[in-house]
């Protein structure tokens, strides 16, 4: 995604630079012609408008850069608490990465983790089973 947006922005920038250079050359040429004409006849300098292709190129390149920049913005986050918490529950860290794939610095994690880690709700039998499993495995390894 980020490579795509950078490529689009670079393409648009190239076009915009070309349009800028063309417009500069056009006005320079026009003022030069006006200056030479002024020496012959004392007519005022013609305020020339740009050719149609430069205008089209400028507008199209602006639009291309705009699309690239919008594609490169960081993903938005839901502002309603229930939507936001649901997104965290469903997607975890993957839902809160920036455009380069790293997890955002201000990602706070599951807002309900405090509730889920309450001591009253600890499954003590499961923990005891896990612990005895671990002890038995350690004994078996030492016996070998």
């Amino acid at each position: 995604m980020t490579l795509l947006s950078k490529a689009i922005t670079a393409l648009g920038g190239l076009l915009l630079g070309h349009a800028c250079y063309s417009a500069r050359e056009h006005t320079t040429l026009l003022s030069l012609r006006a200056a030479t004409a002024a020496t012959l006849t004392s007519s005022p300098t013609a305020a020339g408008s740009l050719p149609l292709d430069i205008i089209i190129e400028t507008i199209v390149s602006t639009f291309i850069i705009l699309v690239g920049l919008v594609l490169g913005t960081r993903p938005l986050r839901p502002i309603e608490w229930r939507v936001w918490a649901g997104k965290i529950e469903r997607e975890g860290e993957e839902g809160f990465t920036d455009s380069s794939g790293a997890v955002d610095k201000d990602f706070v994690g599951n807002p309900f983790s405090l509730l889920e880690a309450r001591p009253n709700f600890v499954d003590i039998r499961k923990q005891r089973r896990d612990f005895s499993e671990w002890v038995r495995k350690g004994d078996a390894q030492r016996a070998q």
């Binding site: 915009l16 349009a19 800028c20 417009a23 500069r24 006005t27 408008s49 740009l50 430069i54 205008i55 400028t58 507008i59 390149s61 602006t62 639009f63 850069i65 705009l66 699309v67 920049l69 919008v70 594609l71 913005t73 960081r74 993903p75 938005l76 986050r77 839901p78 502002i79 309603e80 608490w81 229930r82 939507v83 936001w84 201000d106 706070v108």
Partner: protein, 118 residues
């Protein structure tokens, strides 16, 4: 603006609000300078320059809506052109860019006008 009762029923995550408006603000100030560049190249003057800015900042809002807001917002059951999933007020989203980027726009507009037409 939602009433206090509605805020109690469906609370708002303050960090998400800040993150979204900062993202939008960064994009708007960046694109405003870009529009200034192209307006300067086109050699726009007075009202047509401001009209150009108006049109392109509305276009930015539409593009952000289409590319960033709409895919999840429509899937979440919101009506079209509704940004309440990500922004508190629709005015902030649709017209906030007009004020945020105006200074940068005029700066680059005059600069490039001078560079190209000098």
């Amino acid at each position: 603006m939602p009433s206090e009762q509605e805020l109690q029923i469906s609370p708002i995550v303050q960090e998400s609000v800040m993150h979204n408006s900062r993202t939008l603000y960064n994009l708007q100030s960046l694109t405003a300078s870009l529009f200034g560049v192209s307006a300067g190249i086109l050699g726009l003057e007075s009202y047509s320059g401001f009209l150009f800015y108006l049109v392109f900042s509305l276009l930015t809002a539409v593009l952000v809506y289409v590319l960033r807001v709409a895919p999840t917002s429509l899937a979440g059951g919101k009506p079209p052109l509704d940004t309440s999933r990500y922004f508190r007020s629709p005015f902030e989203f649709w017209t906030g860019g007009l004020m945020n980027g105006l200074a940068g726009y005029i700066l680059t507009w005059t600069l490039f006008y001078g560079l190209v037409r000098a």
